[in-house]
Subunit: 227 residues, 2 copies
Amino acid sequence: MKKAVPKRARTKQKRLSPDDRRREFVARATEFFSEEGFDGGTRDLARRLGVTQPLLYRYFPSKDDLIKEVYRTVYLEPFDAGWEELLTDRSRPLRERLQEFYQAYTDVIFSRRWLRIYFYAGLKGLDINRWYIGVVEDKILARIIGECRYEAGLPEQGKPTASELEMAWVLQSGIFYYGVRKYIFESPVLDDKKQVIDDALDVFLAGFKQVFAAADYPQRVPVKAVG
Amino acid sequence: MKKAVPKRARTKQKRLSPDDRRREFVARATEFFSEEGFDGGTRDLARRLGVTQPLLYRYFPSKDDLIKEVYRTVYLEPFDAGWEELLTDRSRPLRERLQEFYQAYTDVIFSRRWLRIYFYAGLKGLDINRWYIGVVEDKILARIIGECRYEAGLPEQGKPTASELEMAWVLQSGIFYYGVRKYIFESPVLDDKKQVIDDALDVFLAGFKQVFAAADYPQRVPVKAVG
DNA sequence: GATGTTGTTTATCGCCTGATCACCAACTAT
DNA sequence: ATAGTTGGTGATCAGGCGATAAACAACATC
């Protein structure tokens, strides 16, 4: 019906390089999918981007490919290589290191965008979540356990036991879920992240020390676990 | 094309009462939606039930109404009135009560079905999750705090402070997320729920006691919090 | 055994979805 | 100016969706 009439009037917007434009699409698609879930329509997405729907297919072969790129940016973005060093820097008190780490880490992942994408992906059963959990165990929790052992004067046998890891997970999840309650469920929470983290660390460090002082070490379950 | 030919051969299945049949539909729909998410199609659902799709609309006015019933069964199912009494029964050691409670509670909610529905609903932003979180705070966490205070010889002023609640949340979430890792992400975990709970409780109780012994009570933030 | 009621199916409607194609518009190089 | 390449659009397709209507099957009652 309508003829293709030049849509002059928004040519003000200067052209970006192809790569930049693509990146912009991915970034805004991330925002979009974090709200609508991955079942959000390509038409709605295109409208949000201010373009028409078929154009998406010039930049991404399929919706699924676009989604994969969204995952990549979300999951790779957060990890700061400096964190491992921070956690293991024994010239500083452990509590201080943990405080600083969890402040920084939660600054990155405590956002509606990140947390929602994380759970949407998780519910889809994608490997990427399992991979991420593995990274958290290796790069964060294992180090924390190592430092706690050191602090408690215990032998630093190579890898942490499975039950030690689970204890570190309780700390990690306890803090993590504060963000979930706040940004996903939008439930009322104590609006002082720092205090929540500090209290969690106080409880954990005091409790961990005491539990491990009494621990019957050699008998603990070795690290291999089952799904 | 095809004429309505009698589909004899499975009339063995005796007729249930309308209410029972309805309940059966809801139960199996719960299972279905927990796997596929609430965007799962009514045709697939009907196939799973062994009936045709329009039949669903004889039992439920719309897909949304069916989903609402799914929520209701999932969210109301778990709460056992006895738990409040269990938690506050001071004739037994606190640690023992907490152990028993968390064993029982996680027996109910640690299932792929329950956890997935919980997060699908949460991501949709439904009030029901906020309501559930409120119930957990009132019926569980507030009691736990009260008992911990008692145990520590502290005054049992009516309601817990917001920061005390957050500490209890760290324990609750720490245990909860063990189930999330296992049943949603299907990540390898220590396959001994009892030990995970026991360790979490040991760390919490020891840590809590110590933190509260040193607490500057009157200065703590009062209970009202912000979203 | 005819009658009314309830359970179930076939066929279909209108809408929305991801994807494709042919075409136009804009910038670049010659 | 002209040809070529890239950015973007309108129209459209096949398939899936939730929902509805009309007909048929099975049972209960008299």
